[in-house]
């Protein structure tokens, strides 16, 4: 239990650090790749739907704390994304890289769509299209999520040897 909490905390911390670091490198990268969604998907696939939902809630609330929008919008969408990621990955095999890419891409798109929907319905907010970079987000998120999962799997396999 404590180990899981520490693991989740480290995942969220890594996402926060990478997010702030990306801002220093390039602004379109911040919009093109949602590192918080990546962290939620990776953690949910590894730990299950409840852990994913909790990580999603924490990541979302951190995003909301650094945004002027309604506090809880991103939290809600990320919670659903985390739960779905954990739940679906238990039902179907998403381990092959190709499947993982499609799975992460679809979840990234669902997360974005849900956030846009909630922001439109509840807050009537505009979106940072940034020359279309927002539309690239599901693909960027899928690429990074697949890469992270593959790297983690390789590290795990080496440790097992």
């Amino acid at each position: 239990m404590i180990r899981n909490i520490i693991k989740g905390g480290l995942t969220v911390l890594a996402a926060v650090l990478v997010f702030f670091a990306l801002r220093q490198i390039s602004l379109p990268l911040v919009i093109g790749v949602n590192v918080f969604t990546v962290a939620v998907i990776v953690y949910a696939v590894s730990e299950g739907e409840i852990a994913g939902a909790l990580a999603g809630a924490v990541c979302g609330l951190i995003i909301d704390a650094f945004s002027l929008g309604l506090f809880g919008l991103a939290g809600l969408s990320k919670t659903v994304t985390g739960f779905l990621a954990g739940f679906i990955s238990r039902k179907i095999n998403v381990q092959p890289p190709g499947r993982m890419f499609i799975f992460a891409g679809l979840l990234g798109a669902a997360d974005l769509a849900l956030w846009v929907l909630l922001a439109t319905l509840i807050a009537a907010e505009g979106f940072p299209w940034a020359g279309g970079w927002l539309l690239v987000q599901p693909v960027g998120t899928a690429v990074l999520a697949t890469a992270v999962i593959l790297v983690l799997r390789r590290i795990k396999a080496r440790r097992a040897l």
Binding site: L13, V16, L17, F19, F20, A21, R23, Q24, L27, V30, I31, E49, I50, A53, L54, A57, G60, L61, I62, I63, D64, A65, F66, S67, L68, G69, L70, F71, G72, L73, A74, G75, L76, T79, V80, F83, W115, I122, A123, E125, G126, F127, P128, W129, A130
Partner: protein, 283 residues
């Protein structure tokens, strides 16, 4: 724990999480409420991380450019010396031109009008969901930064105002391109007044409440703050009129290109004069 609860534990926890966040959202509707204590706590806890990452990147960039990547320093130095020489000449010519165009009294009055105490701050982050809405600066309540202080860029163009939450070492600045931003402005030559409102979709602004019958405003005209809102000092340049259209309503549809370029925002100045009448409008 009863068996039926145990069987549905995952769904119950998930439902509880969703319910808690919906509750959080519903507490903030209608919009315009101050940030909750929870939001302030999250901001205060995470903003030091942002400062650390910013510091690490600045340090790494400094080490790289000052101690490692010195390949072109000599040629760069020569080029810069040439540039300084030319700029000095240009500066002298421009100063002479300026003296010829304005009398000394008018110039002194103009400079005195813009003279505001300010605090230089580095931009350490952007709005996590929409970069056109807000930025985070490395100055906070510990440096004397308070909500509703106006913020300008290094050229003196209007960027926005400080809003809550303001942490001890970091503050949030609402950009003028945010949907909820409203700045009282007037055009420089025709003196048409309106409200400069943000358009966070594209990083531009709208000039609102200019009557459709008003023919005096022209495209490319400069917009300056009036100071009527009690937040932004008068005379700060905010943007230029990009297009004027009629859409059949009572008011004109006027698009404004804001001077702020959020991609180049690295350092800003917070105008630290005391806020006179701080309105408690939407964040």
């Amino acid at each position: 724990m009863p068996r039926f609860l145990k069987d549905r534990k995952n769904v119950l926890i998930f439902g509880g999480l969703l319910f808690a966040q919906l509750l959080l959202l519903s507490l903030q509707v209608p919009r315009g409420s101050e940030p909750s204590a929870f939001e302030r706590v999250v901001f205060t806890l995470v903003s030091p991380l942002q400062r650390t990452v910013f510091g690490v990147f600045r340090g790494a960039a400094s080490i790289w450019s000052r101690y490692v990547y010195l390949r072109r320093v000599e040629s760069q130095n020569e080029r810069l010396q040439d540039e300084v020489f030319h700029l000095r000449q240009e500066n002298m010519v421009l100063n002479n031109d300026l003296t010829g165009l304005r009398d000394a009294r008018e110039l002194a009055a103009g400079l005195a009008g813009l003279g505001e105490p300010f605090l230089v701050a580095a931009v350490i982050g952007v709005d996590a969901s929409n970069p056109y809405r807000s930025i985070v600066i490395d100055r906070g309540s510990g440096d004397g930064v308070r909500p509703n202080m106006a913020v300008v860029d290094r050229s003196g163009f209007l960027i926005g105002r400080v809003i809550s939450p303001v942490g001890p070492g970091a503050g949030t600045v609402q950009l003028i391109t945010d949907d909820n931003s409203a700045v009282s402005v007037r055009s420089e030559t025709s003196l048409v007044q309106g409200i400069l409102a943000g358009n966070a979709k594209g990083g531009t602004c709208w000039l609102r409440y200019v009557l459709a019958t008003d023919e005096s405003l022209a495209e490319s005209e400069e917009l300056l703050t009036t100071g009527f809102d009690g937040i932004f000092p008068a005379g700060i340049k905010a943007g230029t009129v990009e297009s004027i259209a009629l859409d059949g309503s009572l008011f004109k549809r006027i698009a404004v290109r804001a001077h702020l370029d959020w991609r180049r925002l690295t350092r800003v100045a917070v105008l630290t004069r005391p806020v006179e009448a701080a309105p408690t409008g939407p964040r």
